[in-house]
Amino acid sequence: MPNLTIVQAVNYALMQEMARDANVIVLGEDVARNGGVFRATEGLWEKFGDGRVIDTPLAESGIVGVSIGLAAYGFRPVAEIQFDGFTYPAFDQLISHATRIRTRSRGRFSCPLVVRAPYGGGIHAPEHHSEAPEAFYTHMPGVKVVIPSTPYDTKGLLVSAIRDPDPVIFFEPKKIYRAFKQEVPEEDYAIPLGKASVAREGVDVSIFTWGSMVRTCLEAAEKIKDRVSVEVVDMRTLSPLDTDAINASVKKTGRVVIVHEAPKSSGVGAEIAALIDRKDLLYLEAPVVRVTGFDTVFPLAKLEKYYMPDASRITKGIEKVMDF
């Protein structure tokens, strides 16, 4: 079983899916000869050639727009947008077309398209390279939003995303692209979209989180383990949300902290809090606490660490729900 990082798992999934299905094609900026700026598509062009691994002009809306046409023709395009902050030029193509073609044509056409993009902060990058824009996409009907946090999940979820009949936004937490390795099975496996996983079991408080924050939350849980037994739930898919997993954990612990690096207001955390309010209010021992990025522009490298939730802010959040 190969021992892989997240970015290698992305590559592995693409390699296997392209070999399995000739309709899977990869397109984007620098994805072919260069193998992607993060090397996520390394070796694909050499193996599958010009017709299936395609360097495009530098135009995100164009990449997603032509992918919609390719998908309608029967291909399974996997479009790479180089950074989270550069998905915005393609926003219109996603919200105005990719997500609507099925409904507009009453099912005659569909858009089985994957838009992959490195996601989130923490790598001391220039402006626009550290965004956490998931809430824009979870608010869009017709698209699914996935953010893995481990190499094993990355492969299984990307496989599901590629095989999914609907458009999927696949955000890859770039801070932990190469942070650790995990054994990733060679054999074909898919992790269903819309299913969370429990990253750490606990009984006192539930943390709902995703992306690189899963690691940070595990760190916080470890720090505080003598006092509090923390359950960390990795949401993995943000649209649709795994409401069953949320309910089950809340019923068990009665206390909730939601952690995400995206700005707080109207973030996915607010949706989770509302879900809990609707279904599990009587199980709650304390109000839901959110530990998140701030409602500001993501700062450049020198202030970045103050923006991103860290283990100590998360621990403080845990204490807050415990002390209520």
Binding site: G62, G65, G69, A71, S96, R106, G142
Partner: protein
């Protein structure tokens, strides 16, 4: 290798091609030669004007008295120096001159009085000419009826095609059944030409998505409302066909306003780079709601936008069905043979309001409309057919009567459709309804049930 590099590289730098590759390239080249021969013969015609666009380095513009040498160089028709590999990027010594010249062809076959330049006439039978006339007349009858239906509250907002019949019928007539149309929202004439059941067009505008579901074999993609965004889908679709070696052509129907949208330009760029079998059928109807063509771009023609992307743009008289048909047919033949995209600017006029929600009198001079009424596409064809003995009043009456009957039937079919299912707008959001949507649908149905019970 991109096509641009291919064109510019000199013989010396060309890599030797394998026999197989040469053989493969042959049919495409043949088709291109054929097209360029046609272009040459068209060039001799009287009524054809050529708009030349010269790109001059700024140094040339600034110099008050350019030296003779520079002047002479500026007159040379093509690349002034053969540039070999290392110099391809930048010149080794200081030089100023013309790097490349471009031209945009214009084509009119039938003038406003129905006089035809037979030398430019596309190959069409008398039956084809009658079909043009019948389709154009039927489209106008349909259009008038749709406007009336909107006034009566029987359909919603509708975008009239009046004045654009030649552009739509001529281009759609050039398409084959297996080709795909990517329509914008003002394409009733093209739909009718593509044998689309008329009631579907009305049904769509009555506010029912089911009007967008085409019967099998009618290759029309869904209508696209955001201006300029759908040309990318046509390019992607045509690209997919090319990757699978299916010999189809996609036609993206866009307008003058769309040429200001980044997505349209990205579509043209992708199409040029990947030599996609797509035709951009641009109906320049002079107005984007209230904004005139002159405010969309400072460029002299819209056709020349193609030049920046490395393929041909041609301007045609969009009210001359023969010119539109000929340009569209040639562009499609070229695309089918692997020759890549073409942009066709049909110079036409939106005689009506933007949509039924607009009043063009607020921003448009009545004299302008009068000018274009003199150039009506149907009148022009009628005059021509009269001269050729293909038209009589009885014939036209019969065609109009038949069109009226078909349109009335379509209205009846449209109005006899059962209302769509409420669950439809939930059902097609994803391939499968997720739990969240199921809950929301149940909530709505419950509320409706309670409302109903209260009424009873």
């Amino acid at each position: 290798m991109t096509p641009m590099v291919r064109k510019k590289s000199s013989r010396k730098t060309k890599a030797p091609k394998s026999r197989k590759a040469v053989k493969k390239a042959r049919p495409a080249r043949k088709a291109q030669r054929k097209i360029s021969r046609k272009v040459k013969s068209a060039g001799k015609a009287k009524r054809k004007t050529i708009k030349k666009i010269m790109l001059k380095p700024t140094a040339l513009k600034k110099a008050k008295k350019p030296s003779r040498k520079i002047k002479a160089e500026a007159r040379k028709p093509t690349v002034i120096r053969k540039i070999s590999f290392p110099e391809r990027f930048i010149s080794e010594k200081a030089v100023s001159g013309v790097v490349k010249r471009f031209e945009v062809r214009y084509l009119q076959v039938l003038d406003k009085d129905g006089r035809c330049d037979e030398k430019l006439m596309p190959r069409v039978s008398s039956q084809d000419i009658k079909s043009f006339f019948e389709l154009m007349l039927t489209s106008r009858v349909f259009d008038d009826k749709a406007l009336a239906l909107q006034r009566q509250g029987r359909i919603g907002t509708y975008a009239s095609i009046r004045g654009q019949e030649a552009s739509q019928i001529g281009s759609a007539f050039a398409m084959q059944d297996q080709d795909w149309m990517f329509p914008s929202f003002r394409e009733a004439g093209a739909y009718i030409t593509r044998k689309t059941p008329m009631h579907l067009v009305l049904q769509y505008w009555s506010g029912d998505e089911r009007g967008g579901i085409m019967p099998k074999g009618i290759n029309n993609f869904t209508p696209s409302i955001p201006v300029g965004t759908h040309a990318l889908h046509a390019v992607g679709f045509a690209w997919g066909a090319r990757l699978r070696k299916d010999r189809i052509v996609c036609v993206a129907y866009i307008g003058d306003g769309a040429t200001s949208e980044g997505d349209t330009l990205e579509a043209m760029n992708f199409a040029g780079v990947f030599r996609v079998p797509v035709v951009f059928l641009l109906q320049n109807n002079q107005w984007a709601i209230s904004v005139p063509r002159a405010k969309q771009t400072a460029a002299e023609t819209l056709a020349q936008k193609a030049i920046a992307f490395g393929f041909e743009g041609i301007q045609v008289d969009g009210n001359d069905v023969f010119a539109v048909y000929r340009a569209a047919r040639e562009a499609m033949d070229k695309a089918r043979a692997g020759g890549g995209p073409t942009l066709i600017e049909c110079v036409t006029y939106r005689m009506g309001d933007h949509t039924t929600a607009d009043d063009a009198k607020r921003y448009r001079d009545a004299r302008e409309l009068e000018y274009w009424v003199q150039r009506d596409p149907i009148d022009r064809l009628r005059k021509y057919m009269q001269k050729k003995g293909l038209w009589s009043q009885e014939y036209e009456n019969k065609v109009a009567e038949e069109a009226g009957r078909k349109v009335e039937e379509a209205v009846k079919t449209m109005e006899s459709q059962p209302p769509p299912n409420i669950e439809d707008f939930f059902k097609y959001t994803y391939a499968e309804m997720n739990q969240n949507l199921k809950d929301q649908l149940a909530e709505l149905m419950e509320a409706l049930k309670e409302q109903q019970e209260r009424k009873e």
